[in-house]
């Protein structure tokens, strides 16, 4: 049985998509719809649908952030990742990014013909998946890698605003003292609610900036995003160990803690 989750904050639109899907794909079983981004992540992880329709602008997490969280937190024993279809009324930048990343998307108002074509594509992908699963016992389906790649392209898409000059020095307050931390000394950055935790070999500090704001200002060759909430300096990584679920655990040169690379970024550690 194929299941799907609709995440849409406008009740009439959720209802309409439900009705259109019933016509375009009668066999599709719909889970209780999610009314915001956070609910979408919860519902997806607990209900484990085959397909998720995500509105882009939702209260709480946006559709993109919800997709990222679903993929990163998808349990290893839950089988293949859900297929994701983004739904948007009008977002110029988002549409360009969807095209570039070749992800599935629908525009509101949803046209029946467009929805039918989308459903046909989803059915084909799911059928291929089922065939592959029957043929082998490998847990992860072959199209997961492609899906992760597309999602990475989408999330890495440059923002509309021009990137500013790369950061050399971070100014972080610890208590009432401002500490000047050279970016080169940072071992890793970790998102902490509204702040970013900056961790060096000796100390840690908070900077009042989101990871999303910080990322474009870091040298992408030297600082690797390994999780939606973690960016690590590549030459501070000592070892990388992959476990059965596809997650990668990292040990660091000058810090005792271990970091986790999510499956979205696990491709960075493949051996030479």
């Amino acid at each position: 049985m194929t299941t799907a989750l609709i995440a849409e904050d406008e009740p009439l639109l959720a209802q309409a998509l439900r009705a259109e899907l019933a016509r375009a794909w009668p066999a599709l079983q719909l889970l209780e719809p999610a009314v915001d981004g956070d609910a979408a992540v919860e519902r997806a992880l607990s209900g484990r649908p085959d397909v998720v329709f995500l509105d882009i602008r939702m209260p709480g997490r946006t559709g993109l952030e919800a997709a990222e969280a679903i993929v990163e937190e998808w349990p290893a024993d839950a089988g293949a990742l859900p297929l994701i279809v983004f739904v948007t009324a009008y977002d110029q930048y988002a549409l360009q990014a969807f095209e570039r990343a070749a992800v599935d998307y629908l525009q509101k108002p949803v046209q029946p013909a467009r929805l039918a074509a989308c459903c046909a594509r989803l059915r084909d992908t799911l059928a291929l998946r089922a065939a592959a699963r029957d043929a082998s016992d490998v847990a992860a389906a072959p199209d997961d890698a492609a899906l992760l790649g597309r999602l990475r392209t989408l999330l890495g898409a440059p923002a509309a605003e021009a990137a500013t000059a790369p950061l050399a020095i971070l100014q972080a307050s610890i208590g009432s003292t401002l500490h000047m931390i050279p970016v080169d000394e940072v071992v890793y950055f970790e998102a902490a609610d509204k702040y970013v935790r900056v961790v060096t070999a000796e100390r840690e500090a908070l900077i009042r900036m989101s990871l999303r704001e910080l990322l474009p200002r870091l040298d992408a060759d030297r600082f690797w995003q390994i999780h939606r909430g973690t960016v690590v300096r590549a030459d501070a990584i000592a070892t990388a160990t992959r476990d059965d679920s596809g997650k990668v655990f990292l040990t660091l040169r000058r810090r005792p803690e271990r970091l986790v690379a999510s499956r979205l970024y696990a491709h960075l550690f493949r051996g030479m």
């Binding site: 904050d9 406008e10 009740p11 009439l12 639109l13 209802q15 309409a16 009705a19 915001d36 956070d38 602008r57 209260p59 709480g60 946006t62 009324a89 009008y90 977002d91 930048y93 988002a94 525009q107 509101k108 108002p109 949803v110 923002a159 509309a160 605003e161 509204k194 900036m209 989101s210 999303r212 704001e213």
Partner: protein, 370 residues
């Protein structure tokens, strides 16, 4: 005998402004053509040798033109525009005698004739030769200067009109935001199948909203009751879209209903409260719009229980692609400044108990709009 000739600025009717060197050569050719015509005229009238007249006419004319051209470039930083105000005529007044001296000297050198030595013997000849130069220079250069002034003025008017059009377009674009429009249409499409009478009602609100938005850029003011009616159209659309998540209250005391206000002044504030405060917030929220009189000041308030200014700013930093509230608010400030100067005030602040409070204070005009 030296003769007068006149510099000729480019005629915009003859040539769409060529730029740079081509522009300069084009103007030079025009000057030489006019010099030739003047030489012909003078040669016929005085009976002097045509070749001689042409030489002096070209030298003087080109010299005067050269001085003016140089002066225009120095004044306008290489743009070759006429200098502003009295400096234009002053440039012509300086260029005329200076160009005459240079032109005659060059022509003398070329022809071997000595005009200056001749003037020492017959000073009255200088007045007779220089006279026509002054006359032609004044008539033609002065004429072209006047035309340049008119052209500059026309360009200024056109630029102002262009600016106004852009401002209107910006305002229209911010009010007919495509994301809002397409989401509303998607809701309408859903309602047509599910609940036709409600669909019709929603369509009526959409029509009234669009009509008001398009009319607002042409009207200068309307009664406060109209402003509230337009808000009601917009809020009705948003209530359909957001369902139970949006509760709205609008309070307009009847005695204030007829007060004149600029059209759709509150619209951006209400839109802002929904788009950045209530819509992105999980769970339901409330929007309150009210009008009150404080002495001779009309106080208009839009309050929401949304996520607040700080959260909105953070979200904007996280998602730079999302629309910012900056434009709508800047527009409100700008309109108030233009219409009322310092007599009007606009503030946006955190609301007590969470959310945001936007407040506009306007002087009451005293006369109701019929």
């Amino acid at each position: 005998m030296p003769l007068a000739a006149v510099p000729l600025p480019p005629d915009p009717a003859l040539a769409a402004p060529p730029r740079g060197l081509a522009d300069l050569l084009f103007r030079g050719a025009q000057v030489m053509l006019v010099n030739l015509a003047i030489a012909g005229l003078i040669a016929t009238m005085s009976g002097n040798r045509f070749g001689h007249v042409v030489l002096y006419s070209q030298c003087i004319g080109l010299a005067i033109w050269g001085v003016i051209e140089f002066g225009r470039r120095v004044r306008s930083g290489g743009l070759a525009e006429w200098p502003k105000g009295w400096r234009g005529p002053a440039l012509v007044a300086v260029a005329c005698p200076l160009g005459y001296v240079i032109g005659v000297t060059v022509a003398d050198a070329l022809s071997g004739y000595s005009t200056w030595a001749n003037y020492l013997h017959r000073p009255e000849q200088l007045a007779r030769d220089f006279g026509p130069t002054v006359v032609f220079c004044t008539i033609v250069a002065g004429g072209f200067w006047a035309r340049g002034q008119a052209r500059a003025q026309r360009a200024q008017v056109a630029a102002a009109a262009h600016e106004a059009t852009l401002a209107r377009l910006d305002m229209l674009q911010s009010q007919l935001e495509p994301h809002m429009l397409f989401n509303t249409l998607a809701n309408l499409r859903a309602l047509i199948a599910a609940d036709p009478p409600r669909a019709q009602e929603m369509l009526d609100h959409l029509i009234a909203f669009l009509r008001a938005t398009l009319a607002a850029s042409r009207q200068s003011e309307h009664p406060l009751s109209d402003e509230f009616a337009r808000l009601d159209d917009y809020l009705a659309l948003m209530r359909v879209r957001m369902g139970d998540r949006l509760r709205t209250h609008a309070t307009l005391p009847p005695e204030l209903a007829a007060l004149p206000v600029p059209p759709l002044l509150l619209q951006p504030l209400v839109e802002n409260a929904i788009k950045h405060g209530l819509e992105p917030q999980r769970g339901p929220g409330e929007l309150q719009v009210d009008a009150a009189l404080d002495g001779a000041t009309l106080v208009l308030r839009v309050a929401d229980t949304g996520r607040g200014l700080e959260a909105a700013a953070q979200a904007k930093a996280r998602e730079p692609d999302m629309p910012s509230s900056g434009f709508g608010l800047a527009q409100v400030r700008e309109r108030l400044q233009t219409l009322f100067g310092d007599a009007a005030r606009f503030t946006l602040a955190p609301r007590e108990g969470g959310g945001t409070l936007a407040e506009i204070r306007l002087p009451v005009a005293g006369r109701p709009v019929s």
